[in-house]
Every structure is written in C-alpha cells, then in structure tokens.
C-alpha cells in the first residue's frame, strides 16, 4: 500500500523534518504514529497525502510513485485517501448532509450517487437523525463523526488521521476509535498520528515511533512507550 525508501524532508527554512525514513504499510494495517511534538509525524502524513514533496527518496502509494507524480494527478490520489483532522475542518454554513455530500461534489459525482451514498454513510457513523443540523449545533464527537463520514464516502483505500481525538474527552475518543476500528475491519488502511497513550496501549496495533525525524521503533501490537 505504502512503501517509503530513504525519505528525507528538509523544509525551505532549513528544518530537517525527516531523515532517511524507510517503511512499508500493508493493506489493512492499522498504524499509530507516536512521538514527541515536532518529531515529524505530521510531515510523514503530509508526504503520503502529497501536500509536501520529499527532498530525497521515493514514496510509492498504491503502486504509484507520488514523488514523480504530476500536479494535475494529485487530486485523483487525494480522492483515494480520506483525511481526518483534530479540528474537524467542516464547513460551518453547510448542514451535516451537505458537508458529507461536498466530498462527492468535489469529486464530481452524479446527484444520483450523492443521494444514494450520503444517507448510507451517515447511517454508518450514526448521524442519520442529525443530517439537517449545522456543525455548530453538534458536540465535538458528533462533528468528528461527520468528518469521518466525509473521509470514507469516496471509498478510500486508506484514512490518515492527524490526532483525531485531540479535542475530545476520553469517552467520546473511544467512540471515535471504535468507529475507526470498524472501518479498518472493512479493509481500509488507517494511519493515525496520536498522543493518546490509553488508546494506543488499549488497542494493541502496529506502532511506529518517530523522534527527531527518524523512525526509532516499529512494532506489531506495540504500546505508546512514552509517559503521557
């Protein structure tokens, strides 16, 4: 699914975000990216998503070398990758339904598909009866569910989540994690950067630890490994 070979990333201002990172992600993996703030977790997710280009090294996503990909092919890569953020990034003046439908509109889907898919996905995340509400009328957990619905509606091959539980209380965080685990069971690869020790230790998934831009640990059924 993802192969990285000797990837280094140096930002134009000279910050060395990643140094010589090589890793392989298999289809269906559930991966926690852990490590101190500023270690390079976000940069790693941005590279997969091609928000940034690596300074050195090659990155294969789903068999395509994205370091050599043309700019105009990028949108089609992104439609295969769902993204979830700590701050949800929903459109405040669109309803829950429209926020989820927006992902399909952007991908230029037909209105028939939209009418078919949106209710199905809202049902999956348990928000069928809040479809007409605005994001501001929802709790944080519900907003994150909307953003998960939006991330999965294009049937992505993987989901990248950047601290998806960072703004949520522990109980709601677990609800969101259970949802992600369900989605993972349906075959979607999940890569999640997080600082939530309880969750990483509780779920016992693959853990990749990054410090100072280097992969220092990569274990199956790993633990968080830092004091929280």
């Amino acid at each position: 699914m993802i192969q990285m070979y000797n990837v280094s990333m140096i930002y134009p201002n000279g910050v060395k975000a990643l140094t010589d990172v090589s890793l392989h992600v298999r289809k269906g993996d559930f991966i926690f990216l852990v490590g101190p703030s500023g270690a390079g977790k976000s940069t790693l997710t941005k590279l997969i998503f091609r928000e940034e280009l690596p300074t050195r090294g090659q990155i294969m996503v789903n068999g395509i070398n994205i370091a050599r990909m043309k700019d105009k092919e990028v949108p089609y890569l992104r439609r295969k990758i769902g993204v979830i953020f700590q701050d949800f990034r929903l459109l405040p003046n669109k309803s829950v339904y429209d926020n989820v439908a927006f992902a399909l509109e952007v991908a230029e889907a037909s209105s028939k598909e939209i009418k078919k898919l949106v209710p199905a996905v809202l049902k999956l995340v348990g928000l069928t009866n809040k479809a007409d509400m605005l994001p501001t009328e929802l709790s944080g957990g519900e907003q994150q569910r909307v953003s998960i619905a939006r991330a999965i509606i294009n049937n992505p091959i993987m989901i990248i989540a950047d601290e998806p539980t960072g703004n949520l209380d522990p109980e709601t965080s677990w609800e969101i994690m259970n949802l992600l685990v369900e989605i993972n069971k349906l075959g979607t690869t999940i890569i999640m950067a997080t600082h939530a020790k309880d969750i990483v230790d509780g779920l016992k998934k693959r853990v990749i630890a990054i410090e100072n831009g280097r992969v220092v640990r990569d274990e199956q059924k790993g633990a968080y490994g830092y004091e929280s």
């Binding site: 105009k72 509109e105 294009n154």
Partner: protein, 292 residues
C-alpha cells in the same frame, strides 16, 4: 464537465457576489464607466464617419478655368492636376456638360435656362485620396496657370477629421486607464472572495478537488461583474444615442444615419469587452491568491 458541476460553479459565483455586495457594485460601476466611454467614443467616431462619408462627394475639389483656355492648355492642366500628389482622380467637365447637368437638375423649368451664350466655365472635378490632403491639393491647383477659382468644403471636413482623430486618441487613453482600474477592482473583489473562502478552499484541496474545480467559481464571478458593467453601459448608450440621433435629425442638412447594424456591433463589443475585463481581473487574482 458535468451539468451538475457547472450548476455548482454558477451557484457559488452568485452566492459570493451577494456576499461582496458593495465591492461588486464598485467593480460593476467602474466597468460600466470604462465601457460607457469606449462605447461613446466608438459611437462618436461612427457618427462622424457617417457624416464625413456623406460630405465626401462634396469633398470634391471644383476647379474652374479661366475663359478662353484652349484645348492643349486644358490637356496640360489635366496632366498637371493628375500629377499633383494626393489626387485620386480628376474629370474634365466642359461648359456644355455643366449646362446639361444644370438643366437636368432644374428639369421642369427648362425654359428659364435658355441662354444665347453659355455662362458656365469649363471645370475639373478633382477627387483627393484623403480628406486631410484636400487643402494642400487645392492650394497647389490654385497656383496653376489658367485656373480661375478653386472651391472645396474645407472647414467642415478638416474640423471633422481633427475631431475624429482627437476622439480616437483621448478615447483610447481614457479607455485603457479605466479598463486597468476595472481590472484592478475586479481582481480586488475576487481576492476578497478568495480570502473569505480560504478555509473552504483548503478543505476542497484535501478532498481532492481539481484546481479548475476550485478556480471556476471565481473566474465566473469576475465574468459576471464585467458582464453586468457592460449591460449597464450598453443600456445607457443605447438610449443616449437614440435621443441624440433623433435630435440631430431635426436639422435637415445633418444626414445622420446610424445604421442599426453598427450599433449592434458596438453593443456586442461592449459585452465582449466587459467579459474580457472580468475574466482578466479574476484570472489575475486566482493566479496570485489562490495557490491551489
């Protein structure tokens, strides 16, 4: 491009026009003023050209010869006239021909034009190549031997041609300046829209929107602004021209005949100009401020 997607572009463009009310109004106003002057200048030139065209036949230089110039001298004179730079053609009109022409013009009162001796002189009808050459040619011919008198409707023609030149020049300068101002205002309006929607644009990007999917609503917005300005200026010009032409028609000697086809061409070019200004303005903003 799907119909549904095009519908989305239009909807987004219209929504943000409503949101930017005042700026949009200022842009439309500037475009309207710029195009008003463009259209005004075009109409002035068009009408002046029409008047000039109607005066063009009278723009002939009439050269009257002295009494008793013989045929060889007339031949020499014709040669000299034709050799004068700027002369398009010349035609000799004998005194008999002139009389015949006069008789035709006053056909019914034939009897009153019976003379024992033809009082009319021999003459030449000389056509200049351009209106601004008329004076020079007339002055040269006046100096030739055997020439009694040279007539031409100098003042009208000369003044008209200078007017047309000035309208063209000043019009061009003002139009360019105003068009630049309009482009600037439209690009500022679009920039405000881009700024107001930067969050949405960011979301669109990570959802996998193509660059043109993001750009189209902004480009359309600019085109709408330009088009609205063009419509305003077109309407104003249409009615102003209508009233002026009606007023001028009161004077019989002013043969103002505005061909409706020309008016439609001018209105069409105003619309084209508006769309062009709008598109340029938004493309500038979209390129600079929409780093997609």
């Amino acid at each position: 491009m799907k119909v549904r997607t095009v519908g989305y572009y239009f909807q987004e463009a219209l929504t943000s026009l409503r949101r930017n009310g005042l700026m949009a109004l200022a842009s439309v106003g500037t475009v309207a003023v710029a195009l008003l002057i463009l259209g005004g200048a075009l109409l002035t030139v068009l009408n002046a050209n029409n008047i000039m065209k109607s005066v063009e036949n009278e723009l002939l230089i009439s050269v009257y010869l002295q009494e008793g110039v013989d045929e060889t001298a007339i031949g020499d004179l014709e040669q000299q006239i034709n050799d004068t730079p700027g002369v398009a053609k010349s035609r000799f009109i004998s005194k008999e021909e002139s009389l015949e022409k006069l008789r035709q013009q006053f056909g019914e009162t034939k009897g009153s034009l019976e003379f024992s001796r033809n009082p009319l002189p021999d003459s030449f009808e000389v056509n200049a190549e351009k209106s601004n050459l008329v004076k020079g040619i007339a002055d040269k011919i006046r100096g030739l031997s055997g020439v009694e008198k040279v007539n031409y409707p100098a003042e009208v023609v000369q003044k008209l041609s200078t007017l047309v030149e000035w309208v063209r020049l000043i019009g061009a300068v003002i139009i360019i300046l105003l068009a630049l101002a309009a482009v600037f205002l439209i690009s500022t309006t679009i920039r405000l829209t881009v700024f107001a929607r930067r969050r949405e644009i960011g979301i669109m990007k990570f959802l996998g929107a193509t660059n043109w999917f993001i750009r189209w609503p902004f480009v359309l917005e600019g085109v709408f602004l330009g088009l609205a300005g063009a419509l305003v200026s077109g309407l104003i010009l249409y009615f102003v021209n209508f009233y002026i032409v009606e007023a001028v028609k009161q004077f019989p000697f002013m043969r103002v005949q505005t061909d409706m086809k020309d008016v439609y061409i001018i209105l069409g070019s105003l619309l084209g100009g508006g769309i062009f200004i709008g598109a340029i303005g938004s493309v500038i903003s979209v390129r600079k401020f929409l780093q997609v």
